[in-house]
Subunit: 255 residues, 2 copies
């Protein structure tokens, strides 16, 4: 397939590389930020374009991978009857693309950073489409790069994205907070790596509710107060400690 | 070495198994809950005792692995000049054991559940002791079961424990919340496993600050409001979403 990208961020970068490696042709990469378009276009041997009006309509698929609130605007300005138009957002409904003829969604459930390679075959790809015909094409394409292709409607995809924000984005923020504590006390973040890996590994086999550990699940008030006293000069850390400890206590110690 | 355990919970269970496997003898396991003492004693071929007064003093090491606020009391009732007395708590200072002659701390930095095996060799073990002589003995013992033995004073060990609560206990709670969202919407928690693994894997190589992804780090207010609207009937989820999103925005979008 001949594929073009609108956007050159984390998601576009990883999807373009995966499709290129699977034997598809990346035709153009659009970004208003010239350097970003140039870098991604160079890596996937595509043409970089900096104006939407320079996008060729002679492709099979246009992947819109831009900030969520820009998707609808971008899609309105496309004028193609040939290409399927898809976006890659977890939380944007399919129908924002409905001024096009053939459209769909292609949502990779993964935390993607340009600086880190990812094995796309292990990534869940959620697809949705404007018709069975388009759906079949998108599923085939998705299966070229992932072993885990699933069909989800817009509402279920939104719920998956919300869950992913908790399990991924917020978790990474907790790692940032943990690193802050260690750095301030002259300790290295790497001390936590085996622990972090084990917590992630545990829930591949067990329900997270069944393997909760720590002072809050034991309702160990002496330790909780000692920790909160230790954190008393840092409002950010203290607010998280207090809220999450209280939630864990409420969950496991409903009188 | 001849080792006895006071306590039969998650930490005692994993340490006793590791020492047994490393060739040490587990002499007694004490728990006031008879069934718990019996199970662990059976697994490590030790004698189960249910009264502290039945603990033999003819051992080299007594490991106190009980709820943190019970450690000092237990230690006061021990009467041995021969055995080294250690506790396994991250947040309890060394000096609570100072009515004994030889004492120390043996803190495994890991989330330990009886139902899940752990490779103790990969676990950081933080040791502290009442004298250089005791410290050397404890380090030798720690190295029998772990490749990652470190020396930490009580204050640094407390900071490590606080950081671990964020990176481990709170992270697991976020997995619980994510599962709640998915279950409520008819989706399977397993969908998140590749994502959870990748988030953990990323920070083994990169600083968590440098690989933060999601709506908050993009300050994507449209998505954030959509998610908060989606969660509006669940105070628990909403409180976490609001606090952590705002913290991430503050961190990456100062003024």
């Amino acid at each position: 397939m001949r594929i073009s990208f609108i956007g050159s961020g984390n998601v576009a970068t990883h999807l373009a590389a995966a499709f290129k490696n699977a034997g598809h042709q990346i035709v153009q990469v659009y970004s208003p930020t010239q350097a970003n378009a140039d870098i991604l276009a160079y890596h996937v041997k595509a043409e970089a374009v900096y104006k939407l009006s320079d996008l060729s309509q002679q492709v099979d698929l246009i992947i819109i991978s831009v900030k969520d609130d820009a998707i609808a605007d971008v899609a309105k300005n496309l004028n193609t009857t040939r290409a399927i138009i898809v976006h890659t957002s977890g939380s944007t409904p399919l129908h924002v693309l409905n001024n096009n003829q053939q459209y769909g969604v292609f949502y990779p459930l993964q935390t993607l950073s340009k600086i880190k390679e990812v094995d796309m075959r292990e990534v869940y790809l959620a697809v949705e489409a404007s018709s069975d015909n388009v759906l079949n094409k998108l599923k085939g394409l998705a299966q070229d790069i992932s072993n885990h292709v699933i069909e989800l409607d817009s509402e279920k995809r939104l719920s998956l994205h919300v869950a992913a924000v908790f399990a991924s984005n917020f978790t990474n923020h907790l790692y940032t907070l943990a690193k802050h504590v260690l750095t301030k006390n002259g300790l290295d973040f790497d001390l936590l790596i085996p622990l972090i890996r084990e917590v992630a590994d545990k829930v591949a086999t067990f329900n997270p509710e069944d393997v909760q550990t720590g002072p809050a699940v034991r309702n160990d008030q002496a330790i909780i107060h000692k920790h909160m006293d230790f954190l008393k000069n840092d409002e950010t850390l203290l607010a998280v400690y207090e809220l999450l400890s209280q939630q864990i206590i409420n969950l496991y110690h409903k009188d």
